[in-house]
């Protein structure tokens, strides 16, 4: 399974990311997830979220998650892009691509990756008014 993690302060260009997709002929499923900054945090309106990361640990914890994906499912590739710094409302902060032979493992792996990320990957949000 090939794995790719990008941490960036630049806006995510989903069209460019999609155009970079590679799939071998045995693959039949590509599942995507985009996490987008909502305009509210609790009951309060916000304009953006500032994402802070302990980058060295983020990379290590994602590697551990990728290891688990590899053990649990047959996947050809996983790509994760996470924005850091200020991300405005309506912009994606997280982008995930999972490529696999069939849809079942791709959906399951994507769900698992995001759940595990929210449990163990040291990234924090600070809402901005």
């Amino acid at each position: 399974m090939t794995r790719s993690l990008t941490l960036t302060t630049a806006p995510l260009d989903e069209a460019v990311l999609l155009a970079q997709r590679t799939m071998s002929t045995g693959m039949g499923a590509a599942v995507y997830f985009a996490g987008v900054v909502r305009g509210t945090e609790g009951d309060n309106a916000i304009s953006a979220i500032n994402y802070e990361a302990f980058e060295q640990m983020v990379r290590h914890q994602f590697d551990l998650i990728f290891d688990q994906l590899e053990k649990r499912w047959t996947l050809e590739s996983v790509r994760v892009v996470h924005r850091l710094g200020v991300v405005k409302v309506g912009e994606p902060s997280l982008w995930v691509e999972i490529v696999s032979p069939h849809r079942g493992e791709a959906f399951a792996a994507c769900q698992f990756l995001i759940d595990e990320m929210k449990r163990s990957v040291p990234i924090w949000k600070r809402p901005l008014k």
Binding site: F54, R119, S120
Partner: protein
């Protein structure tokens, strides 16, 4: 022994700094370190139950035995995505 302690997210605000050092007896555990840290930064003690602890880039329990030069990170629950 001496360990470096880093604070992340709003723990930096609570502590009033991003990092500190702690001098501990040989064989000290993370629990011993936390006693030292909470004595010096009592604002952090209120968040003790939800505090996550890493040594280097791996999570560790309170029973983990520290070594001289370890880099310990204390932070609140993570919120990526």
């Amino acid at each position: 022994m001496t360990v470096r302690v880093q604070f992340w997210s709003y723990f930096k605000d609570l502590a009033g700094c991003a990092e500190t050092t702690a001098t501990l007896a040989d064989g000290a555990t993370i629990a011993d370190l936390l006693k030292d840290v909470y004595a010096r930064f009592p604002q952090l003690a209120a968040a003790e139950k939800s505090t996550l602890i890493a040594v280097g880039v791996d999570y560790q329990p309170h029973t983990y035995k520290l070594n001289d030069g370890d880099e310990v990170s204390l932070f609140p629950p993570v919120q990526g995505g």
